[in-house]
């Protein structure tokens, strides 16, 4: 155990046997493996299995239900609008976030006095709890005592305070805006890292050739940013799909399901209705949605093409 290198022929033989090497790696990797299986893979499998079980009101497993939970799920009248909301939520928030982050990163990549401070303020929503950030918006946008509403009235953007979070449609749009707000930090930082990797010589060569800055950006910088963009978009898809706190805090108090995504609906079924079977079925649907969205995105973006070349 103590010596690994090929000091003596005998030890060398033992070291090189695959089984021996795998066994020796075991104590080093076992804790992480146990943790992953116990708290990630097992609950995933457990909820898939439980999606085919019937449950009593106390949560007692009453045996197999076949696909009854899935049937019950898809017979709910709100399920298809909720699915549509989910796609609108993920696609809008991710697209707007990436577009704004591209501009923001481009700006923060230039030198100017105070840049370091601006970069730190951009970092704050990432470090801060999404629940707390959303709470400040919920308070600020309140039509009665909210000071964002007051400010918008004072600068004449609004005539009277608007109930941003009181009606389904404005509340959903508000949630999207806050969803973008809390996603900008990470995305901008990934793109900034991508911009830092663009070689200066290439940009200078383009300038010497007389390319305009717009032309340089779209023909040179953007293609070089592709790996960073693919990565930022991919992680954003997962994060935005799972961005439960923003929707819960901003639209959660509204009655009905008009602003729900499959994620918030799942928590409602689990917590308010105590319907474990259907909540499990919807969780499986969530798995499938995440997989489909990621697969479609990778198909469209074809990131491997760029990596291989």
């Amino acid at each position: 155990m103590r010596l690994t290198s090929h000091n003596t022929p005998a030890q060398g033989r033992v070291t090189d046997r695959p089984l021996g090497r795998a066994l020796r790696a075991l104590p080093w990797n076992a804790p992480a493996t146990v943790l992953i299986f116990g708290v990630v893979l097992f609950p995933a499998g457990y909820l898939i299995f439980n999606s085919t079980q019937r449950f009593g009101l106390s949560g007692l497993d009453l045996g197999s239900a076949g696909f009854a939970n899935y049937v019950a799920l898809f017979q709910r009248p709100e399920i298809f609008p909720v699915l549509l909301n989910t796609f609108i939520w993920v696609i809008s928030v991710v697209v707007i976030t990436v577009a704004l982050s591209l501009a923001l990163a481009q700006f923060l990549n230039r030198k100017f006095p105070g840049r370091r401070i601006v970069r730190i303020t951009v970092l704050i929503p990432w470090a801060a709890s999404t629940v707390m950030t959303s709470l400040a918006f919920v308070y600020g946008l309140n039509p009665f005592y909210g000071i964002i509403n007051k400010f918008l009235v004072d600068i004449h953007i609004l005539r009277v305070p608007l109930g941003f979070t009181q009606q389904p449609l404005p509340a959903f749009v508000t949630a999207m805006a806050v969803g973008v707000f809390v996603s900008l930090s990470f995305t901008t930082y990934v793109i900034l890292a991508g911009l830092a990797a663009v070689p200066n010589e290439v940009l200078e060569a383009a300038a010497v050739d007389g390319a305009s800055s717009t032309r340089t950006y779209f023909s040179i910088v953007l293609p070089l940013l592709r790996p960073a963009l693919v990565l930022a978009t991919l992680i954003n898809i997962i994060n935005v799909f799972n961005n439960f706190p923003v929707l819960k805090l901003i639209t959660g108090a509204l009655p009905g399901y008009s602003d729900d995504t499959t994620t918030t609906l799942m928590f409602k079924i689990l917590q308010s209705e105590d319907n474990l079977g259907v909540a499990n079925a919807l969780s499986v649907v969530n798995f499938v949605i995440v997989l489909i969205v990621i697969a479609v995105f990778l198909r469209v973006a074809q990131p491997l093409k760029e990596v291989d070349s």
Binding site: R2, I36, L123, I124
Partner: protein, 298 residues
Amino acid sequence: MTTWARTPSVPAPTARLGAPRRRRSRWPDVGRAVVGAVIALLFLVPYLIMLVGSFKGQFDILTVPPTYLPKVWHPENYITMWTASQTPLLANLISTVVISVGATALMFVVCIPAAYYTARFRFPGRRAFLFVVVVTQMLQPTLLATGLFQEFGALGLSDTWIALILINAASNLTFAIWIMHNSFASVPKEISEAAQLDGAGKLAVLMRVNLPLVWPGIVTAVIFTFVASANEFSASLVILTTDTLQPLSVALSKFVGEYDASWQYLFGVSLIAIIPCVLLFVLIEKRLVGGLTAGSVH
């Protein structure tokens, strides 16, 4: 290019070339600084609302129409909030700290050996292990909430800090292992081999030779796990039901829709939680992206 202009020994033509470039760039500099200030203000909006609100009185914070600044400043809010009757904020803050410290410690113990060994040695199953680590990134607690709720219920661990410590350690494991793996991989093999020749065991090589060299990566993983655990919401919401065991994220979320919420206290405690997280993130600002990108790029 700029070095040309600044170097005093350059001949006249270059200096002339440099001068207008500098003159052209001064005004855009000011313009950018102004735009930068506006961006900074926009990003600060929710936190400025918290800061100002945390000094308002209970009546003041619910006044219609509101005032931007407190009519009377109430710095004592930062003392009275700990004993406020509406919510056990001190217990909630303690929960957040216990869960975050526990999850970070567990992550540390579990990830360092795995990251070190996968970076330093080749063995059957290494690729499979690293693949599973990446898959973990996709299966976040929000997606697994029903499964985690039922699993910890069956284990008799629902409504315990241990459950959340395990969940947070696991859900930040991808970031931690990847960033540490890359740090260990960047340490030249020869250094470890020299130590081994001197008779040091693998554990000693890790502890005495490698750890001191890779501490920036480890600090990044530790801070990231701590901050992410402090901000976790979904799993805590379904697993912790006793209000004194709930972390701040869950406790504060219950105030939405309350008719006479003590927003000044929520904002005060929010700032106390946010400020250390931001300071910690600023420390690792440069390395944050590395941990997230490494896994997918390699």
